[in-house]
Structure formats: C-alpha cells, structure tokens
C-alpha cells in the first residue's frame, strides 16, 4: 500500500471504508500479534482484532494526530483485549487457557520464527494471564510500568511484581 497514511486516516475519518480497509491491511498483522500474545488463544485473538478495528472505526473522529496512528491503535487494542477479558470473566468465569501453543506458530512457514523464538512464544503463552499481559506489554511491546498500570488498572508495584514473576517462570521453562 503506497497511499499516504495521513491521507488514508483523513479519508477514513470522513467515512471512506476503502481508506479504512487500507489502514486495516497496513496494521492488521501488528494488531493481531498483540492480541495473540495477550490472549494466547488464536480464535480469541481473531475476535479481538476485529473488535479493535470496529472500535477504531467508531472512534476515528477522536484521533487528532497527537501520537502516531499505530500507537493510538495499539493502545485501543490493549484496551479492547483487557475489557474483553474482564467481560468474559464476568460472563462465564471462563479461564483463558494457554494450551494452544500452535496458535503462536506463524502460518506459511517461509517466514517462521527461529526455534528459540518459538520456544519463547510457547513459554509466554503458557504464563498465567496477569503475568503474560505485563510481560507482553513491557518486554515485547516496550510499554513502561506507569503506562501498563494506567491501561490495566493495576498498581505500578503490581505491574513490576507480575513482570519479575513472568521472567522467573520463563527462565525456568526455557532452562528445562
């Protein structure tokens, strides 16, 4: 896609669905990766990816360009995943299992992760949900603890404790 992103955003804000589809095509992989790592569930990640883009369409008018569009979209995606998880928990006390590590294998094979990266993906997917979310947001996505606390509604200290716990569990898993 060679269209100017600013022009695409502006057109999408005016209701141009073709422009929004171009934005979707440019960002879907990034949003899906985030959803997949946060949920450790392929079907749920697909659902949350769609939720995030539907919400982005609804809220496009609020995007004023103060931050990069991708940053805005990723924050919105994290919110959708976390809101979805809370709603899911309330609805049926469903525990998001992490027994589907194959979900984290990249389709196609040509562009597949290296063995150690795949081991890490699987180990991350097997983490308890709270530790996994903080690890993904901090170590994979590069959010600061203050931002994670704001996004997830936990204290900064709790965010740190979850991160350190996640790292300990990952080291144990990878050294086995």
């Amino acid at each position: 896609m060679h269209s100017d992103p600013t022009d695409l955003i502006h057109r999408a804000q005016q209701g141009d669905r073709t422009a929004f589809e171009a934005l979707y095509r440019a960002h879907a992989g990034r949003v899906y990766a985030l959803c997949l790592r946060l949920t450790a569930d392929r079907a749920l990640a697909e659902e949350r990816t769609q939720d995030a883009f539907v919400r982005a369409w609804e809220r496009l008018a609020t995007f004023r360009g103060e931050s990069a569009f991708s940053s805005w979209l990723h924050r919105l995606t994290v919110n959708e995943v976390l809101l979805g998880r809370r709603a899911e928990r309330r609805r049926e006390q469903r525990v998001v299992t992490s027994d589907d590590p194959a979900a984290l294998e990249r389709p196609g094979g040509a562009d597949a992760s290296s063995g150690s990266a795949l081991d890490l993906e699987r180990a991350v997917a097997a983490l308890p949900a709270g530790a996994r979310e903080v690890f993904v947001l901090h170590d994979v996505e590069g959010y600061r603890h203050e931002e994670i606390a704001e996004l997830t509604g936990i204290a900064v200290g709790t965010s740190k404790a979850q991160l350190f716990r996640a790292r300990r569990l990952l080291r144990e898993a990878l050294n086995r």
Binding site: R17, F20, E21, Y24, R25, A28, G29, R30, Y32, A33, L36, R42, A45, E46, T49, Q50, F53, V54, W57, E58, R106, P107, G108, D111, S113, S116, A117, L120, E121, V124, F135, D139, V140, G142, K160, L163, F164, R167, R168, L170, R171, L174
Partner: protein, 202 residues
C-alpha cells in the same frame, strides 16, 4: 543477595530503574557473585529475545470481511436510530398539534370531545416533551457545548413560562388568552426540541 529481594533488585538493575547508589552496590556484588552474574545475563538475554520477537503476525484468515460487515451493520443501525428519532419528533408534533387544537375556544374549534379536557392535553404534552427530552439527552454530546448551554437556557425560560400559564389556567381554565399563551410556549418547546433532533441527525 538472596530470595525475593534478590530477584527484584536484579530485575530493576537489568531494567535500569535502580537509583545510582543501589546500582553501584549491585555492580560491586556482581563482581564477586557468579550466580548473580549468570542471573543478570539470563535476564538480559530474555528481555532482548522478547524485544526482538516479530512485531507482526498475519492472521490465519482474512479478518477484514468480518470487520466490514460489523461496520456496515452499525451504519445501518445508526440510520435507523436517526430515522426513528425523526419519526418520533414528527409524531410529537402531531400529538402537540392535536392537544393544542383541543385547547382552542369553541368558536374556532369545530369539534372538541368533551372528555378530552385540560388534563388529557397536559398528559399528551408532558409525555411528548419527555420523549423529546430523552432524545436531547442522548444527542447532546453531538452538539457543541456552547449550543447545549444556550438550548438549556432557552428550555428553562420556556418551562418557566409554561409553568406560569399552567398555574394560571388551573385557576381560570376557560381563559382563551391563557390557552393562547400556553399554546405558544408549547409550540416553541416542541420546535426547539425538533431542531435538536434535526441537527443531531445531520
């Protein structure tokens, strides 16, 4: 260095969030402790591996069709909602017109059922303005804040005028002049609320 304190300190050290003097203290400890050096190396390696994971993973199927369907459904729903509100406003105008017609003096009203007196008119009007008021409440976020302030001020003035004419009509129900005053204020209120519906729908 042992236990949870060790874990926290080494993680903070790797993340670069320790104060300068704590950092110096950890570095001094690391010089003498092979186990902590190994732990730090593992933590650094883990963080680096996490940061270098692919940032993009293509979904196993194209998700756009589902997104597009939901966006289209919402657009249809929005149109239906606005059409419903416009219909409500139109219906409200009819109800008000009928109510005001009943208030007209006998000389200008060819037909006015005896049982449809002031109480029925008041009930019609209250129900209708209440429904339009709900539309206003739902749509106020679509309006500019200064417009909302002006609308609320005007509605308060109209409501005060209507309260006065209601009270006067309660004392003198047959007064043509009071009915005219009430009718004018009622029409103004409906027109104002209809304007809100039109602007919000545009």
């Amino acid at each position: 260095m042992t236990g949870p304190h060790r874990e926290t300190t080494l993680n903070e050290y790797v993340d670069g969030t320790l104060a300068a003097h704590d950092r110096a203290s950890v570095e001094a400890h690391l010089a003498d402790c092979a186990a902590c050096r190994a732990a730090v190396a593992e933590l650094r390696s883990l963080s680096a591996a996490a940061a270098s994971l692919p940032k993009s993973i293509e979904p196993g199927r194209d998700l756009w069709a589902g997104v597009e369907t939901r966006i289209a459904q919402r657009a249809t729903w929005n149109v239906q909602r606005l059409q419903w509100r416009a219909a409500l406003a139109a219906a409200a105008a009819v109800v008000i017109a009928l109510g005001l017609y009943r208030l007209l003096p006998p000389s200008t009203a060819p037909y006015r059922p005896a049982e449809q007196g002031w109480a029925a008119v008041q009930a019609d009007f209250d129900r209708t303005t209440s429904e339009l008021g709900l539309v206003f409440a739902a749509e106020r976020e679509r309006l500019r804040p200064e417009t909302v302030v002006l609308l609320e001020r005007n509605l308060a003035i109209i409501d005060a005028a209507m309260a006065e004419s209601r009270a006067a009509l309660a004392r003198d129900p047959a007064s043509v002049e009071l009915r005219g005053l009430f009718a004018a204020a009622a029409r103004q209120k409906v027109e104002l609320l209809q304007w809100v519906v039109r602007v919000a729908a545009s």
